[in-house]
Amino acid sequence: MKFVWFNLMPWPDLPDGFRENHRSVWVDIDSKLFDPERANGLYHEYMDQLEFADEMGFDGIGVNEHHQNGYGIMPSPNLIAAALARRTSNAAICVIGNSIALYNPPIRVAEEFAMLDCISGGRLVAGFPVGTPMDTNFAYGQIPALTRDKYDEAHELIIRAWAEDEPFAFDGKYNQLRYVNCWPKPIQRPRPPIYIPGGGSIETWDFCLDHDYNYSYLSFNGHKAGRALLEGYWERVAERGKDESPGRASFAQIICVADNDAQAEELYAEHILYFFNRCLHVHPGFADPPGYRTVNTIKSGKLGGLRKENQELFKTLTWKDLVEGGFVIAGGPDTVREQMEKMIKDLRIGTVFGLFHMGDMPDWKTRFSTQLFAEKVMPSLKNIWPELETDERWWCHPIEDRVRPEYTIESARAMAQAESQTMPAQWT
């Protein structure tokens, strides 16, 4: 069982009345709401939390990519991942991921992920979401009806760029390159483990099964809603005759731990409600442009999370609704452990992306919740799936003899303070 500590990096200062006075948190959000000087402190606060999670023993620390979005200030997750790779040496660096359909050309993703894998000593867990319509179509201008095709071509190009030893020509529809020669190559070859964040498209299931990629169901609707969709996924796994390793699936869950259930509400409710009421206020016209979703997915009725119907729901949720509906797993350690165990088994997931910081949650609360989880919940859940001990397909394989950057920072400091620097004899 793998636990990834994941932070969306939301803007915590969306004003009261945001929903009424602004049409969207995403795409055309008022840029005057962003304060770059405030962001100086905020980025470091969030990165400090990710490093804290590494110290607390989480298997992975996670970042993701969103553009022009008030609930995520990481249009480039690779920049954050690079900082984390340089300051940690234990946790997997989970970039979940790069929206490859909007990188032109996508060899940029192959190169940056290879750099991250080298710098981290082979700790990269790579993610390739198709990309939300808000990011891919409206912020980055990709044509909706061609997005999936562009994604498929980008995927092929990146995988080949990592795997092939000789330069090759690539005559694609969206990318024509004479000398594809990815330099550097990742430590993990032919490729790092790959996670595909999906929001309900059934084509994504088959894509994951074709390549043995982990299907990450990322929605904010919580595990009760997630169960229905993942049951569909596991049916497809069986139909395709694939093994049922829990490593095939993962899920994002908002988790709030306190000393007891009442304290959890007292500490966390307002911040979770900030997230649902303000951060998910997306103009419905941006959520589902024609051509983005395939005909088969529309017919299946498994529609995306930020459509108008869901948004109506998010407006009026109370803490009680959030907890009872499974949107949030919250309470004292025993409550959380019990619900986590049930969720993990019901959804049959091998990796949990835990969202401990949400909305405008202050730093001390985030660390409090994280530490309680790490010390009082996580240990008892680690070995839920014995079969995953020997299933190598779903996690990174770092080299043992890797640079431990947190020590080089100290040694750099020590060297600077040393009385003299001695030039080696052969140079004198």
């Binding site: 179509n137 201008g141 009806a145 016209g285 442009p289 005909v295 529309i298």
Partner: protein
């Protein structure tokens, strides 16, 4: 009287429905992103003067052919393939609406001798930085009706065709056909409905009529003026009490303008 529905197949093997009616000089009509129906009031009126041929673009009928068309050149050459398949005796009058007019203008630029005259009804395909037009793809249905129609209340009824949104099967079918049509249209209209026709428009060498709707929120009068200035041998008609769907809101006035221009 409703147009008859026939079948057409291009040399590339792409099949589609073809609406036909009337007798007289050949007129080929290229519809816009809203599609075309056998009850189209403009086409029924034009059938009194012309032999009207109205093929359907890929993505706009039952034939699952839209993956064959990816970009502006694909649309342009498919338009000529359709006309070739009609086996007309003489180069036709081409009439296009909106997206269909964008394609017709490209066709007339590329193969300037293969048509007699050109009529562009509220054409897409230009962009004026100082006056950006709204993004159809980010609009909700009621916003769309306001942008496209002089009478938005009537317009919205027309767009949904009396659909009961509580009927899940009907709603799914509507969403599927909407996704296919606008998904296909997006290949040349998204994110900005401009594929650099201005580089080629000087090649249009036939008499051209550009028709605008005075209340058009998608292709406003300033755009119609730009079209008129960009094409040699071009006349412009602005139709009152009509929006973007000018041929649906004022079919008789539009028909009269076309007949008077072409005959």
């Amino acid at each position: 009287m409703a147009l008859a529905v026939q079948r057409l197949a291009t040399r590339r093997g792409i099949e589609c429905d073809l609406l036909c009616a009337g007798d007289g000089p050949d007129l080929v009509f290229f519809h816009g992103a809203g599609g075309v129906s056998p009850n189209d009031p403009l086409l029924q009126t034009l059938a009194q003067t012309f032999r009207v041929h109205a093929p359907t673009w890929p993505g706009f009928g039952e034939d699952q052919t839209e993956t064959a068309i990816e970009d502006m050149l694909d649309f342009t050459l498919h338009g000529w393939d359709l006309i070739d398949a009609l086996k007309l005796a003489r180069p036709p009058l081409i009439v296009g609406h909106s997206m269909g007019a964008m394609i017709a203008a490209e066709m007339a630029s590329v193969a300037r001798h293969d048509l007699q005259q050109l009529v562009l009804l509220t054409p897409a395909g230009m962009w004026i930085d100082a006056e950006p037009t709204p993004d159809l793809f980010a609009m909700l249905p009621f916003e769309m009706a306001q942008t496209l129609f002089h009478d938005p209340v009537q317009g919205e009824k027309l767009m949904t065709g009396g659909l009961d949104f509580n009927d899940n099967d009907a709603l799914t079918a509507f969403m599927v056909s909407n996704a296919r049509r606008l998904g296909t249209a997006g290949k040349i209209l998204f994110p900005i409905p401009n594929r650099r026709l201005s580089k080629r428009i000087h090649r249009i060498g036939v008499p051209t009529l550009v028709v605008g709707g005075a209340s058009d929120g998608l292709v406003p009068p300033s755009y119609i003026e730009l079209w008129g200035e960009s094409i040699a041998n071009c006349s412009v008609v602005m139709i009152a009490e009509a929006g973007h769907m000018v041929h649906v809101e004022q079919p008789q006035v539009v028909a009269d303008a076309i007949v008077s221009f072409a005959t």
